[in-house]
């Protein structure tokens, strides 16, 4: 449970370092951002955010999720005063944001915007150095820091001299993240940052963010309309409902197991029982499997898994009488592979496999055995009995 580990760590920092500024703590949790009865009513009378009470813990990724017009982006933008609330108070590190001059406040809070919003007329390096330069760093120091960040977000140093238009969408968004991190702000606001890139790139960026967060330990507020993204990234997820109401604020497993109302239940989706498996890690028995290599002569009795020289799965062989030579064109393509990640991966491997046997692989991608769907269901039942599945 990453959330639990974070709590302990944050508690440790608090005890050792002592409170910095006015720090509100409850049971060792440091609240970095706090919304107190915050309402935003726009000039045309629409209520974007309605009496929002919410505290964001230090060192966590908190996701604001909901359909369009639910007030999630407005709430985010009130943190750095891109929008000011109609009533209520927002505290960042114990300080009322309305008492801080907006540019000064914003230079201390990282911001990643949709489609990156890079400055097209500045090179990648200069884009990243924006906030340090605004804060009065000298040019050389800002450049050095920018080059460092380029590496941190996984981009080659030769990207530094390019203009944003010469980068792909995913690369641009990495630069967007680097730019937000440049002045090393403790808080990062991310406004639907990955919504404009294709699914494969989006997954890369999400994994990269989780990797970065494990290293940097920032307090991140992430806005998205995509519930999958919210459940994947969020240690805490705030589900917003149309009209600016906070419907539920909970850990992903709690959201899936016990939605607060019908809106949350339908927003989380019909397959929430299946999704719960994403958060469960239990031992599933791994059975041995008959394997064969291409060109080998075998007698096919039942399903045989064909592997390459490195023992990596290539496909299945079945329904052949007598002795045959294993031939590439006879292969039936396999399903997803289970790498020990979560019960969801195990079940999906079994369900998607033509042989109903989910192929288990190690870190190198080599076959170690197979899992059966029944075993996954049993592991789930055991986990439930042990109280590991949230009710």
């Amino acid at each position: 449970m990453p959330g639990y580990a974070e709590r302990v760590k944050v508690f440790g920092i608090y005890i050792q370092g002592g409170p910095i500024g006015v720090v509100v703590t409850t049971g060792g949790i440091r609240r970095v951002i706090e919304f107190r009865a915050v309402t935003k009513r726009f000039e045309d009378g629409t209520i974007a955010v309605d009496e929002l009470d919410l505290a964001v813990e230090a060192g966590t990724i908190t996701v604001f999720v909901g359909p369009s017009g639910c007030g999630k982006t407005t709430s985010l933008r009130m943190v750095n005063r891109m929008i000011d609330p109609t009533s209520g108070t927002i505290l960042v590190d114990g300080k009322d944001v309305l008492t801080v001059d907006p540019p000064t406040l914003r230079r201390g809070i990282g911001y990643v915007i949709q489609q990156a919003g890079l400055f097209p007329h500045r090179t990648v390096l200069d884009n990243i150095a924006t906030v340090p330069l605004l804060s009065g760093w000298d040019r050389r120091k800002a450049r050095t820091r920018a080059a460092e960040l380029l590496e941190i977000v996984g981009l080659d140093s030769n990207f530094g001299k390019r203009y944003p238009a010469q980068l792909s969408g995913g690369q641009q968004q990495r630069v967007g993240v680097a730019r937000a991190l440049a002045a090393d702000p403790p808080v990062l606001l991310m406004d639907e940052p990955f919504s404009a890139v294709d699914p494969v790139v989006r997954e890369d960026l999400q994994n990269e963010l989780l990797r970065l967060q494990a290293e940097l330990d920032k307090t991140i507020v992430f806005v998205t309309h995509d519930i999958d993204e919210a459940l994947k990234l969020g240690e805490r997820v705030a589900v917003f409902q149309t009209g600016g109401h906070l419907a539920q604020y909970a850990r992903p497993t709690e959201l899936l197991a016990a939605p607060a109302n019908d809106f949350v239940a339908s927003f989380v989706g019909r397959d929430r029982g299946y999704r719960t498996l994403t958060f469960l890690h239990a031992d599933v028995p791994v059975h041995p499997v008959t394997t064969a290599k291409l060109g080998e002569r075998i007698t096919v009795a039942d399903w045989t898994l064909v592997v390459d020289e490195q023992n990596r799965p290539k496909g299945w062989l079945s329904g052949v009488d007598g002795e045959v030579e294993v031939n590439e064109r006879d292969l039936i393509s396999g399903g997803s592979l289970y790498d020990g990640s979560s019960l969801r991966g195990a079940l999906d491997a079994a369900l998607s496999s033509p042989s109903a046997l989910g192929v288990v692989v190690d870190d190198a991608g080599a076959v170690t055995g197979v899992v059966r769907a029944d075993d996954v269901i049993q592991a789930l039942a055991k986990a439930r009995a042990a109280g590991e599945v949230p009710k």
């Binding site: 914003r106 230079r107 911001y111 804060s135 203009y163």
Partner: protein, 212 residues
């Protein structure tokens, strides 16, 4: 052409006058158009007032404006201001729209990002909005410059017109070569000025051609 070589000094002198009378209004007009264009890019109401007003200014015939200016501002008839003021008015009328369009075309998420990074308004305008508006602005500036170079000649009516002087003199003395010299001068000047602005634009906005 022979007239130009035989009267090189005279030709060079009117070229200088022509250049001054057309470039100075472009510079002043452009500077004046920036705040108005900025205002129009931010406010629908400003747009609704400024754009029709600019259009009306532009429809006043240049002859009328140049003849009437000395009366309005009361300076000596031969003062260069009498040509500079009306041409500045045309430049402003033309450039308000260019500057407004150029600033409006700066992507919203780039501006939002700049605000979120903590830019203050003036710095944002000078280092983000304005540089990004340059390609469209320079295109407008090229039109204004070329149109000014052609319009300066009308100033010959009040005795000041660069190459326009050659037109009136040539016409009065039935001296076709002189008229032709003025014409060639005007065209060459316009092409050179346009090319120079194009070059300046390219040097200032290397990013605009950086595509994949």
């Amino acid at each position: 052409m022979t007239w130009i070589f035989e009267n090189w000094e005279r030709f060079w002198e009117v070229t200088g006058v022509h250049l001054r009378l057309s470039v100075v209004p472009v510079l002043i007009g452009f500077l004046l158009a920036i705040p108005f264009g900025w205002w129009a890019s931010r406010s629908q109401r400003a747009r609704a007032v400024l754009f029709p007003f600019a259009n009306v200014l532009f429809t006043i015939p240049s002859i009328a404006l140049i003849v009437i200016t000395p009366v309005l501002i009361g300076v000596k008839i031969l003062d260069e201001i009498n040509v500079i003021v009306p041409l500045t008015v045309y430049t402003v009328a033309l450039m308000i729209r260019s500057v407004a369009d150029a600033l409006s075309a700066v992507p919203g998420n780039v501006i939002a990002a700049a605000n979120a990074m903590g830019f203050r308004p003036l710095r944002r305008f000078l280092t983000v909005d304005f540089p990004l508006a340059l390609p469209v602005t320079i295109a407008g500036l090229r039109v204004a410059t070329v149109s000014n170079i052609s319009m300066v000649s009308v100033g010959a009516l009040v005795g000041l017109g660069g190459y326009g002087q050659l037109f009136t003199e040539g016409y009065q003395t039935d001296h076709t070569e002189k008229v032709l010299a003025g014409l060639i001068g005007t065209v060459v000047l316009a092409v050179l000025a346009d090319g120079l602005l194009l070059l300046i634009g390219r040097l200032l906005t290397p990013w605009a051609r950086a595509g994949r």
